[in-house]
């Protein structure tokens, strides 16, 4: 997973890797003088740290003088990239032609191709089929009744695992009906139902091509990196330009966002099919297509299902964000409530998102597990083999017909809905009134003692110095190529004229990640040292990871209002899960013989933890840190809604002004930070792993 620049909830893919045993190349013995070399580097890094502090301290005096250009990138160094992109987009949407077709015609055709199935899903789930327009519209055919949809959820749960899951999934949907969120939730579900198959199919195709062709794989890798690191807001704008405001643009943005993990999982899963099985397919005389279709993909199915689960969760996440460009649904309700400061309404819609997310996650995970254990298909006549679809269809028809006489069968009666809006509103108000002083004190203390000093320090650094440090670190950790990559990406940050915003992003992200680490590391240790704690924390982090990022904003905004502190809390919460999970996983997967050896040597529990487990878990913990940073960056962009002053805000402003160039430039700046952090940490983890003699990617 060295190159997993993944933003999404990447679950460590459990691969049944059974690669034919190849003699590993032995690690070269450390040459004499290596230790001395390392000490030299430690001294050098220490010196650089001191120099950095001195520079920051001198900043107020020097940054105004003739050296000012070294502190803030001078204006003459900044090409007008944003303007060029905007002009290009304008040209693309007005004049560009591919052959006889204008680009806009192509995009319109594409939009129509997606719109048709989306309309179908929407009619089926929400609107029904109508005749006439506007006021005079008359429903000629109803959508699926709420009972039918709940029944479908139950049936899917029973099919995937059993009655408990079926009832749980049905309960989640029932919750939506009872608490009056049905309409919005079904609008959201309609988007999910359309985006997921497209995302999965696209991911399968691209992933398979990348598996089959090395050059294609190499060309695709940076594209995937960008797709996963450029904040979603940034490509919302160009998509709006090309496809117009509305659900289709939202769907396309969603697919772009949710597809990359499926591509990666597909390539990885196909690579992990045991070599013997791939060889067998050739020996059996399969044609290349038979080989792929009949052997490789089925053999990789359990791993592929993990990817499907990820696509579903990312889709839901993005559908909520995309409500800003007209997807409607639950996300729109939350956004609306936040704008109107309707506390109760926001929480209600937020909880509905949670219910939907948890139901979708549990169902798709159960389906994935089912694929792994591949239960024998039910034998017998057609009706018995298809009893679940048949039952659901029967329920749908029956409730549809009965609904003509008893409307309550068709749509959940309003009179029976329960609203908790007032309750939540009162609760939050009460908390705010009662604990106002404590909240304010905590917020003030954090701002004056941590947030502001860190921000001031980072902003005080000369850009050339940062450039040099990152280049040096890259070169030291990953060789010349990484050094060059770091140099170019940091240079990009400087040249875009967004240096201050980039540093602000770095500061917010850094503080949040440190905080997440400070909380996550001990929790991870706890989870690894006790089975009960492990199970509880596992369930909690699982649930945290299924929640769309948007949901995190709701409670924090209500308790702390807007500002950097609020952003920090939301980002920390969102990014906490991988810190806990990877720490626990790393500690648990230390070879038991080593722990036994330590015990026999008379180590205390603490000594075993500090001297054996933790050092060996460092590579894994670094991977967790990496994921934490990626999640933090993706959340940071969303916290622009609560008024931060970083790159995310630039992207968001560009979105509201529909300024393609500015949006993309700022979005790429976020991607640059993410990629630098990802590569540096991955290289560090690799170096550490090599030093410990652990197998690459040995999880």
């Amino acid at each position: 997973m060295a190159d997993a620049g993944g933003t999404g909830a990447e679950r460590p893919a459990a691969g049944g890797a059974d690669v034919a045993a190849r003699a590993p190349t032995p690690a070269p013995a450390p040459p004499a003088g290596r230790m001395a070399g390392r000490r030299l580097w430690l001294v050098l890094w220490g010196g650089l740290a001191v120099a950095t502090l001195v520079l920051a301290a001198l900043a107020p005096r020097l940054s105004a003088g003739p050296l000012a250009d070294l502190w803030v990138p001078p204006a003459w160094l900044r090409p007008d990239v944003a303007g060029a992109i905007s002009r290009f987009m304008a040209w693309l949407t007005t004049e560009a032609r591919i052959g006889p077709l204008a680009v806009t015609e192509i995009t319109r055709a594409l939009a129509a191709a997606i719109e048709a199935p989306y309309e179908l899903a929407r009619n089926l789930l929400v609107d029904g089929w109508t005749e006439g327009r506007g006021r005079r519209a008359q429903q000629v055919f109803p959508p699926l009744s709420w009972i039918a949809i709940v029944a479908a959820a139950v049936a899917l749960g029973v099919h995937a695992r059993g009655w408990r899951l079926g009832l749980f999934a049905g309960g989640c949907l029932l919750y939506l009906a009872v608490f009056g969120q049905w309409q919005s939730a079904m609008v959201t579900l309609a988007s999910v139902v359309i985006a997921v198959p497209i995302g999965v199919a696209g991911g399968l195709v691209l992933g398979t091509l990348a598996w089959a062709s090395r050059p294609f794989d190499r060309a695709l890798a940076p594209v995937l990196d960008l797709m996963q690191t450029v904040p979603t807001f940034a490509y919302l704008v160009p998509i709006l330009f090309l496809f117009g405001f509305g659900p289709v643009a939202a769907l396309i943005a969603t697919i772009i966002y949710a597809m990359p993990p499926m591509v990666r999982v597909t390539t990885l899963a196909l690579r992990q099919v045991p070599a013997e099985i791939a060889e067998y397919a050739v020996m059996a005389g399969c044609t290349p297509w038979q080989r792929l279709r009949r052997v490789m993909l089925p053999a990789a199915l359990p791993d592929l299902m993990v990817g499907v689960n990820q696509v579903i969760m990312l889709t839901l996440n993005m559908v909520i964000i995309a409500s800003m460009i007209g997807a409607g649904g639950l996300g729109f309700d939350v956004l609306n409530a936040l704008r109107r400061l309707d506390i109760g309404g926001g929480i209600e819609a937020g909880l509905a998102i949670v219910a939907l997310a948890v139901a979708l996650d549990r169902l798709s995970q159960a389906l994935a597990e089912r694929a792994r254990s591949a239960r024998p298909a039910v034998a017998g006549p057609w009706l018995r083999r298809h009893r679940w679809p048949v039952t659901v269809a029967a329920v749908a028809v029956a409730t549809g017909l009965l609904g003509l006489a008893f409307p309550a069968m068709q749509s959940y009666p309003d009179s029976l809905t329960v609203t908790t809006r007032a309750f939540w509103g009162d609760l939050v108000r009460w908390v705010n009134v009662t604990y106002f002083d404590s909240f304010e004190a905590a917020k003030g203390a954090a701002l004056t003692h941590v947030l502001l000093p860190v921000k001031r320090f980072l902003l005080a650094l000369p850009w050339v110095w940062v450039l040099a440090l990152v280049t040096l670190a890259g070169w030291r950790l990953g060789g010349r190529r990484l050094g060059l990559l770091g140099f170019l990406l940091v240079l990009y940050l400087a040249l875009t004229g967004l240096w201050e915003q980039a540093m602000t992003t770095l500061y917010l992200c850094g503080v949040s990640v440190v905080l997440a680490g400070l909380i996550g590391l001990p929790l991870g240790i706890l989870a690894a040292s006790s089975a009960v704690a492990g199970r509880i924390l596992g369930a909690v982090t699982d649930t945290l990871q299924t929640l769309p990022s948007f949901v995190y904003l709701i409670p924090v905004v209500m308790l702390f209002r807007v500002g950097d502190f609020t952003a920090m809390i939301a980002v920390t919460l969102y990014a906490l899960a991988p810190a806990v999970r990877y720490t626990a996983h790393g500690l648990r997967s230390v070879a038991p013989e080593l722990v036994e050896a330590g015990t026999m040597a008379g180590c205390s529990r603490w000594q075993i933890l500090l001297r054996i487990r933790l050092p060996l878990a460092v590579p894994e913990i670094l991977l967790g840190l990496n994921q934490t940073i990626m999640l933090a960056l993706s959340m940071l962009v969303i916290t622009a809604l609560v008024g931060t002053r970083d790159l995310g805000q630039e992207v968001y402003i560009a979105l509201t002004r529909a300024d393609v160039g500015a949006g993309l430039v700022a979005g790429l700046a976020v991607a640059a930070i993410a990629i630098v952090a990802d590569r540096l940490i991955a290289a560090g983890a690799r170096a550490q792993r090599a030093r410990l003699g652990l197998a690459e990617g040995g999880r």
């Binding site: 003699a23 013997e276 099985i277 060889e279 005389g285 089925p298 591949a374």
Partner: protein, 342 residues
């Protein structure tokens, strides 16, 4: 072994992994191991030449990493050899087109894998019928044929199971059945029993010999277990660091090892299992004798009889002519490790 009559023949086969194998081997060059290593290549197979006769069990044996799997994969062209030639029944396999290869693999080759390589999503029946299915055979005949081979390996009644519901031995029986479904002429087995427990392994070896007595396939069998090799082999090729160091019958390897490496391999073998009467008899015409033994009989099989008799036994060749005599002393000599080859 005459070259012309071989069912399968590989000559001067090389497989190098590394940046430019073709450069090293250009113009029929035969680089030394040092030259190969120095240029950053790994030699998996070095200049291997083997010939397998029709109906023969040809065992390739060597330590882990000696290149056995790579060799067998070059023979089946699962791995593209860097140099050399492979001919099967007079067809140049390395020159065969993709379509031709597919046709040959479908109808004339079978392969059994060390880790079974069963398709996890198919039942036993579907797994065994799979190679027939990809040929486009209709459901009825292919399932009938699959049931036939499943019965042959003794798995009747388990057709509906999935691979993971079977024990290791049963899984490999499925692998064997599957490789036989297309009724191949040439049968590759890459360490088919190495992943099994010793007891099951013995049972499978017996089963394999029983099958082969009925089938008379031409077989290339890979193992790293010398005991297995001498139980099964008509002839054995011993590989070391990618090269074939010696080819011969088990007895030849034991009695006349080509180099210390082969000698080391064969040192601990119970000689009575490989040495034949012909190798230790006193040559000569008919003498007074207690009974007769065949020239090809292994000492292990006749030791008790010869040892119990006061008079020597006459050794007769395939035509029934007496070619020598074997007595107590000769047999005991083999049993205690005295005499030829020790």
């Amino acid at each position: 072994m005459t070259g012309g009559g071989a069912k399968l023949a590989a000559r001067g086969l090389w497989k190098l992994y590394g940046p430019h194998p073709e450069r090293l081997l250009a113009g029929g060059a035969r680089p030394t191991p040092e030259a190969i290593r120095a240029s950053g290549h790994v030699a998996a197979v070095r200049d291997a030449t083997i010939e397998v006769a029709e109906g023969e069990i040809f065992v390739v044996m060597g330590l882990s990493g000696s290149g056995k799997s790579t060799l067998i994969r070059c023979l089946a062209r699962l791995v593209e050899p860097s140099a050399g030639s492979v001919s099967f029944d007079g067809i140049d396999l390395l020159a065969a087109s993709r379509a031709e290869l597919t046709r040959i693999r479908r109808h004339r080759l079978g392969m059994v894998f060390q880790h079974f390589a069963l398709l996890p999503h198919l039942t036993v029946l579907e797994n065994v019928a799979f190679p027939l299915e990809v040929q486009g055979m209709a459901r009825g005949p292919r399932e009938a044929r699959a049931r036939e081979v499943i019965a042959l390996v003794g798995l009747e009644g388990r057709e509906g199971r999935y691979p993971r519901e079977l024990s290791g031995g049963q899984q490999q029986r499925v692998g064997i059945a599957r490789s036989l479904a297309g009724n191949p002429e040439l049968w590759f087995l890459d360490e088919p029993f190495s992943a099994l427990d010793p007891l099951i392994r013995r049972e499978m070896q017996d089963e394999f010999l029983r099958l082969q007595r009925g089938l008379r396939k031409t077989i290339v069998f890979i193992t790293h277990d010398f005991d297995e090799a001498i139980r099964l082999a008509d002839r054995i090729a011993i590989m070391k660091d990618g090269a074939v160091v010696q080819t011969g019958t088990p007895e030849e390897l034991v009695l006349r090892p080509a180099d210390p490496y082969v000698a080391e391999f064969t040192r601990h073998v119970a000689r009575a299992k490989v040495v034949t009467a012909a190798a230790v008899m006193t040559p000569g015409g008919p003498v007074e004798h207690a009974g007769t033994v065949a020239a090809g009989d292994r000492i292990e099989a006749i030791a008790a009889r010869v040892e119990a008799a006061e008079l020597p036994h006459a050794v007769v060749d395939a035509a029934g002519r007496v070619v020598g005599a074997i007595d107590r002393r000769a047999v005991i000599g083999v049993l205690v490790g005295r005499g030829p080859g020790s």
